[in-house]
């Protein structure tokens, strides 16, 4: 059944190309749901208490140390369900767009899903790298084909940036192989390095790739431009799922691979990520373009997740998994809200907007609900996630905890500024039509999921925690190789 994770996206990506135009939208949704059903099935049958469920494990090209190792634990499963849940959601939120009936677009989304799924189940360094790179192609093409007219410079920047990061990671993966018999996850983890410096520089390669993708301050300058120039579906894929690859990579690869280097690398990374939390929030406050504003907001939110992961504490990492789910859902919702406005009015400049609440009460309600959820109010999963992350950061160093905690305040500032300037005040446009059923459905699914997880977070926490513990055991028990 696990192989369906690969087969289904490939099948739909190819078969959608020959579907009649009028059927593409529905077909895309069906394809997304099919993978979701498989993922849920995997979650229900997962019963290895915190362990890794390997579904393919064999040698591939032994002389080069290449293996075929694929498997998942609870953390992977959460990422898988996020991916396979968001893909139909993103397709659904584009239901009203012309884009949704575009075969190439839908095909690219499924290729993207293939890459993402591969990243989350790959347990071989080279395969991890391959899938990591595969995701770049569809997202690049989506943005290139369907993005804003002035997208070229931004996309080149995005491509170079992420590619440099990926190459650094590849170099590191090959570098570790020098200390291990094969590229298999277990072998790479067991590798010990000759000196702390080696571990540090090998880690730097991984860090560069992840820091760019997350993005962690100051590696973020590709992000606002790419987010604003990409079509909305591309932005949703980027912020909703793609950056989770990097956060997942930090948990699965970076922490267990280089325990030797952690003691000198942790604090600088946490500090950078925390700077990003505050920096992103402050920059977001005065942005005039809503999409750009939420791009910086997203940077602020994921900075907190990255910082929490680096504390390498069970609570914080468990919280980070919950927060990744939450952020994926909420980011898709917020960008959809921006898109709802842009589709109807062809602008997303706050200075042009105003008074929409009066004309579109349903939109006003759901956007408001999203605004609250995105500032992590209680009864939303964001609250539990931030609570656990901040608690972890706080016990790591109280000053960092307090500084990162200002996101509570600054988040309220930029979110409600954006909301109020667009929805309240004098009416500037006539005839703003209220939500289409597909848009409403997306908002409702997001809010309901987030609230359910906020009231009963144990559903995720209990599921994930054993796996987080076994990952962290790798971090602590790896022998620091005679240093």
């Amino acid at each position: 059944m696990e192989l369906l994770l690969f087969i289904l996206p490939v099948f739909f990506a190819l078969s959608v190309l020959v579907m009649p135009q009028s059927f593409v939208r529905v077909y895309g949704l069906l394809g997304g749901l099919a993978t979701l059903v498989v993922t849920i099935g995997l979650i229900c049958t997962y019963n290895v208490e915190g362990g890794m469920h390997l579904f393919i494990s064999k040698n591939w090209i032994p002389q080069y140390g290449l293996t075929l190792n694929f498997g998942y634990d609870a953390v992977s499963l959460m990422m898988l369900v996020l991916t396979s849940g968001l893909v139909p959601l993103i397709l659904l939120s584009n239901y009203k767009n012309e884009l949704a009936s575009n075969r190439l677009f839908t095909s690219m989304v499924f290729f993207m899903q293939l890459g993402l799924i591969g990243v989350f189940v790959a347990l071989d360094g080279i395969w991890f790298y391959i899938f990591w790179e595969i995701t770049l192609i569809p997202i690049y093409l989506i943005a290139w084909w369907f993005g804003a007219p002035e997208r070229k410079a931004a996309l080149v920047k995005f491509f170079i940036y992420t590619f440099v990061g990926s190459l650094a990671m590849l170099a590191s993966i090959i570098g570790i192989k020098a200390f291990a018999p094969s590229f298999a996850y277990g072998d790479l983890i067991a590798a010990t390095f000759e000196s702390k410096e080696v571990a540090f520089w090998l880690m730097a390669g991984f860090f560069l790739a992840f820091a760019i993708k997350v993005p962690i301050f100051p590696f973020h300058t590709w992000q606002p431009d790419t987010y604003t120039k990409a079509p909305m579906a591309g932005t949703m894929l980027l912020s909703g799922i793609m950056l989770k690859m990097a956060l997942y990579g930090m948990i699965r690869w970076m922490l267990p691979l280089f325990p030797e280097a952690l003691d000198c690398a942790t604090t600088p990374i946490i500090v950078l990520a925390t700077i990003g939390v505050v920096y992103g929030a402050i920059i977001a406050i005065k942005q005039g373009d809503m999409k750009r504003l939420f791009a910086f907001a997203s940077m602020s939110h994921v900075g907190l997740i990255a910082a929490g992961i680096m504390t390498a504490s069970v609570d914080a990492i468990t919280g980070s998994v919950l927060q990744m789910l939450n952020h994926g859902l909420v980011a898709v919702g917020l960008f959809l809200a921006v898109d709802v406005i842009e589709r109807r009015l062809n602008t997303r400049q706050l200075s042009d907007l105003g008074g929409l609440a009066k004309q579109a009460p349903k939109f006003a309600f759901w956007f408001a609900a999203l605004a609250f959820v995105s500032v992590s109010v209680p009864f939303s999963s964001g609250f539990i996630g931030e609570f656990m992350l901040l608690k972890g950061l706080y016990s790591y160093d109280w000053i960092i905890g307090v500084v990162a905690g200002t996101t509570l305040i600054l988040g309220a500032v930029y979110t409600f500024r954006a909301y109020q300037l667009s929805m309240y005040g004098p009416v500037k446009f006539e005839g703003f039509s209220d939500l289409h059923w597909s848009e409403l459905l997306v908002f409702a699914i997001i809010i309901i999921t987030v609230v359910v997880l906020g009231v009963y977070p144990a559903a995720v926490i209990d599921f994930v925690e054993p796996s987080v513990k076994s990952i962290l055991e790798l971090v602590t028990t790896s022998t620091p190789s005679g240093l």
């Binding site: 590709w222 920096y279 920059i283 209680p378 005040g425 144990a458």
Partner: protein, 640 residues
């Protein structure tokens, strides 16, 4: 039904009301919507009464609903706790809440967002009940933020006016500053005790007496207090409360006078045993001074405000300040007593002002009122009772509750007594000024308004009358010892019975002669001020002048001591500046330019390298020869 079964129902009722009205309220008639919202409240109050009577003499009841999350280091439970403190707060919240719901049915009758208003009100009650009934700090925090959200929604209820939404945002952000403090307090408690459950915490402190460093206790208590300054509008986070008057008047009565703003006091009383530990005495002092400063500053500002609701808002801030003085002295019961009576008379005053505003066709400036005494007699009479109660007129509820705090202050230090009496005197002055200017003299509104002045429907007058009765007799809840031949007060006994920490407090035995003397002084002062203000504003009919003509202290008062302007310069503008310049220069010029520059540099290098790629074999061979020669030289020189 047992209390354990009652509690979840009490909480669920307002949520049910909000759900019904939120889903189908739009289609229902206004009458039905209001009736649903008010009925669930009344039912909740009834059940709360039952629960109160069964808990009153017994032990506290804890109900665990479900585990929200559990990790190795901590667990967070959705649980409820009924002891005399939480039940007392529940009674206030649901009781006063019911009356205000009833009032709103008449007050909001012509509003287009009628059903939405009741949804928000019910949701607020739900959040407030979680706050007071939760069995741990985590639940408290849930309610704490929940009431903040509802407060935001209700302040910005009339969002067509952008000013209102700004006030709402300000309230939300300022509250969040406090929330961050509280959250850190929770982290500290978790780090030290490993639990957030009140019961386990009290057990650790009072029974096991585990040793805690003074710094830790100071840290915990100061963080809790920072949280309280946000929600209970203390210096420096008080400026949102007067702005919050942008919301409909019943909201001001319910949230910004009777219930939500007392959450900070509830939090402190709930954690009283922490505040009594060594190390917390610094926090107590800070609390006392901040409370005192807030009390006087707010009373001073209220002196020259002319918006009927603004006066009451600053008055609320001032009273809350006084409550924190009480908490700073460790007079928890006195604080709870004053919270109770304050809920009665301040809700009464706010609803009264709402009735006045309703009668005056939405006019709020007292300079344009006058002579309303005869025109709206019920409102007038009940407002008078409210004014007398808050001013400390003898034998009314405010007289007893305020006097208890002042008596504590007298034993604490004469200067403190003087300062509190000063604050109380200011309170009496601005309240009687408000009353006389509004209800005495001649009518100063427009002709149209005069024609339209009318008393509200019964749904509005009935709550006024009930609250007026409570404001008069509320003092009986905790009559001072001299009235009871030295026996302990009813409320003191109530809170000592099953509220953790309260019975471990040192007993405060005031000298009854002294208490009597202080009462006479306070009562005489209130009467004297009433007479003087009557002469000035009632008889002579002098009117507040326009703000521009004010000089000296009057101008300072009218301009609210320039707090908003100072905060603007200190906080708002720097952040806006950073955001603006940061995105333009740091993000745009520095980082962006830097990356682009790097790219260009790489491009240039590429160009340079490309020039070598001539495509001519002979030049490649030439370079190869150079290379080989170079390598040979290198090995010859360095490796040997």
């Amino acid at each position: 039904m047992s209390v354990a079964q009652l509690l979840p129902i009490i909480i669920a009722l307002p949520l049910l009301g909000a759900f019904i009205n939120g889903t189908i309220g739009k289609k229902l008639s206004k009458m039905v919507v209001g009736a649903i919202a008010t009925t669930v409240m009344a039912a909740a109050f009834g059940l709360a009464l039952t629960a109160f009577f069964s808990v009153q003499h017994g032990n506290a009841v804890t109900v665990k609903l479900f585990t929200m999350l559990k990790t190795d280091s901590f667990s967070l439970n959705a649980g409820l706790l009924a002891d005399n403190l939480s039940m007392w707060m529940t009674l206030i919240v649901t009781g006063v809440g019911t009356l205000i719901h009833l009032f709103s049915m008449g007050y909001m009758k012509h509003d287009a967002g009628y059903y939405k208003f009741f949804v928000y009100l019910n949701l607020f009650i739900f959040a407030m009940l979680i706050l007071v009934l939760g069995s741990n700090y985590f639940m408290l925090f849930f309610g704490w933020e929940g009431v903040g959200i509802c407060s935001y929604l209700l302040i910005g209820f009339w969002y067509q006016d952008f000013k209102n939404t700004l006030a709402a945002r300000k309230a939300f952000i300022m509250n969040r500053i406090g929330d961050l403090g509280l959250l850190i307090g929770l982290f500290l408690i978790l780090a030290k005790f490993g639990t957030l459950e009140y019961g386990e915490l009290a057990n650790a402190v009072l029974v096991d007496k585990i040793s805690i460093s003074e710094w830790m206790i100071f840290g915990i208590t100061i963080c809790l207090f920072i949280g309280a300054t946000g929600k209970s509008a203390q210096i420096p986070l008080f400026t949102w409360l007067p702005d919050a008057m942008a919301g409909p008047t019943p909201v001001s009565a319910l949230i910004h006078a009777a219930t939500m703003v007392t959450a900070g006091i509830f939090l402190t009383v709930r954690s009283n045993y922490l505040f009594e530990l060594p190390g917390a005495d610094i926090t107590q002092d800070i609390m006392l001074y901040i409370g005192l400063a807030t009390s006087i500053v707010a009373a001073f500002i209220a002196m020259r405000q002319n918006d009927i609701k603004k006066v009451l808002a600053y008055s609320t801030v001032s009273q809350l300040g006084m409550l924190f003085v009480a908490l700073g002295m460790g007079a928890y019961t006195a604080a709870m007593f004053h919270v109770t009576t304050h809920a009665f008379f301040k809700a009464l005053l706010f609803l009264g002002s709402g009735s006045v505003i309703h009668a005056m066709s939405d006019e709020q400036d007292i300079r344009k009122m006058g002579g309303l005494r005869k025109k709206i007699p019920v409102t007038h009479f009940t407002f008078l009772i409210g004014t007398l109660a808050i001013s400390g007129f003898p034998l009314l509820s405010g007289f007893y509750s305020k006097d208890e705090i002042i008596a504590h202050a007298f034993t604490h230090g004469t200067w403190l007594y003087g300062a509190l009496m000063f604050s109380a005197a200011l309170t009496a002055i601005y309240m009687f000024r408000l009353y006389f200017v509004t209800f005495f003299g001649t009518f100063r509104g427009t002709h149209e308004q005069e024609h339209h002045v009318h008393e509200g429907p019964a749904s509005m007058t009935l709550p006024l009358i009930v609250l007026a009765i409570l404001s008069v007799f509320g003092g009986l809840l905790n009559l001072p010892g001299i009235w009871l031949h030295g026996q302990a007060h009813w409320m003191t006994q109530l809170f000592e019975r099953n509220v953790a920490g309260m019975n471990a407090l040192p007993k405060h035995e005031g000298d009854s002669n002294l208490a009597l003397m202080l009462m006479i002084v306070a009562g005489a002062m209130a009467i004297l001020i009433m007479i003087v203000t009557y002469v000035v504003y009632g008889k002579k009919g002098s009117l507040p002048v326009a703000d521009e003509q004010l000089k000296g202290w009057e101008k300072l008062s009218a301009k609210k001591l320039y707090f908003d302007e100072i905060y603007d310069v200190l906080f708002v503008r720097p952040v806006a500046w950073m955001s603006d310049k940061g995105s333009r220069y740091f993000e745009g010029a520095f980082l962006h330019r830097g990356v682009v520059g790097l790219g260009q540099a790489i491009g240039k290098t590429g160009d340079l390298v490309r020039k070598w790629q001539t495509g001519r074999t002979d030049s490649y061979i030439l370079w190869m020869v150079f290379g080989i020669v170079g390598l040979v030289v290198y090995y010859l020189i360095y490796k040997n």
